[in-house]
Amino acid sequence: MRLIMKENRELTEPEVTIEYNELSGSVKRVSDYVKSVDANITCKKENEEYSVPACEIYYMESVDKKGFIYTKSDVYQTAHRLVELEKRLSGAGFVRVSRSAVINVEKLKGIKNLPNSKLEAILINDERICVNRNYLNDIRDVLIRRNRL
């Protein structure tokens, strides 16, 4: 697959065109990724509605049956269920790390094994999220797919 990037200052927003001779698995992956990256999630903060781009989300959490979305410095509440968000954003590199948390691997700095046998994901803003070992394979698979793109 060749990647051609062209700067065009006349555009108001980035435009992605995928030219293919055959709609193969890798072409679909790139297409799903672009669709997911451009996704926006509707959420609320202090009774105001916001549309948060997926690329700005660091992680999402479910606490007391309420969904929370975390960006670099803000926290929003969402009516969407974590399962629904996970499915919608899986193409954009979001992966479940525990029963109540989904992270964006683009914001992942690394995984650390703690002395008490717990695991934690360290994000690029140094925030730490508990990781359950059952999801390590999924995290690895998402990273492998991302590195192939």
Binding site: S98, R99, V105, L108, K109, G110, I111, K112, N113, N116, S117, K118, L119, I122, N132, R133, N134, L136, N137, I139, R140, L143, I144, N147
Partner: protein, 128 residues
């Protein structure tokens, strides 16, 4: 599924080797075929139970380990009664043997975990 089967057979292999060592200590000269299948059957149940307990995602890791240990020991006690293991093996030895197998499996699991974490950190490109 493939990994599950491999893990169960690995546990069964470790069980039979450890059992052979204990049998050798008691001057035994052979293991019965029944024992092989009994070990396989019990290991299938142990592995399945431990997987289910892991899915509960208990926040305290010590508590999770304790539950897994109690579950395994209870299973061995019950099957020991049904398969008449106590005729050939003293009860404390059987329990110690079970704990030993669990420790081996836990050590292997920890090693596997370290490998997975390293792989993930390499894919990210960071060394944490």
């Amino acid at each position: 599924m493939k990994k599950t089967i491999i893990n169960i057979f690995a546990m069964t292999g470790i069980t039979l080797v450890a059992l052979s060592m204990i049998a050798f200590f008691y001057n035994a000269t052979m293991l019965c075929l029944n024992t092989v299948f009994q070990a396989l059957g019990v290991n299938i149940l142990i592995y399945s139970g431990i997987k289910l307990i892991s899915k509960l995602e208990i926040s305290l890791s010590l508590l999770e380990t304790g539950i897994k240990l109690i579950y395994t020991i209870l299973l061995v006690i019950v099957f020991g009664y049904f398969f008449s293991w106590y005729d050939n093996l003293p009860f404390p030895v059987l329990i110690a043997f079970t704990v030993f197998i669990l420790i081996i499996c836990e050590l292997l699991d920890m090693l596997n975990l370290k490998i997975k974490i390293k792989e993930i950190n390499d894919l990210i490109g960071n060394d944490i």
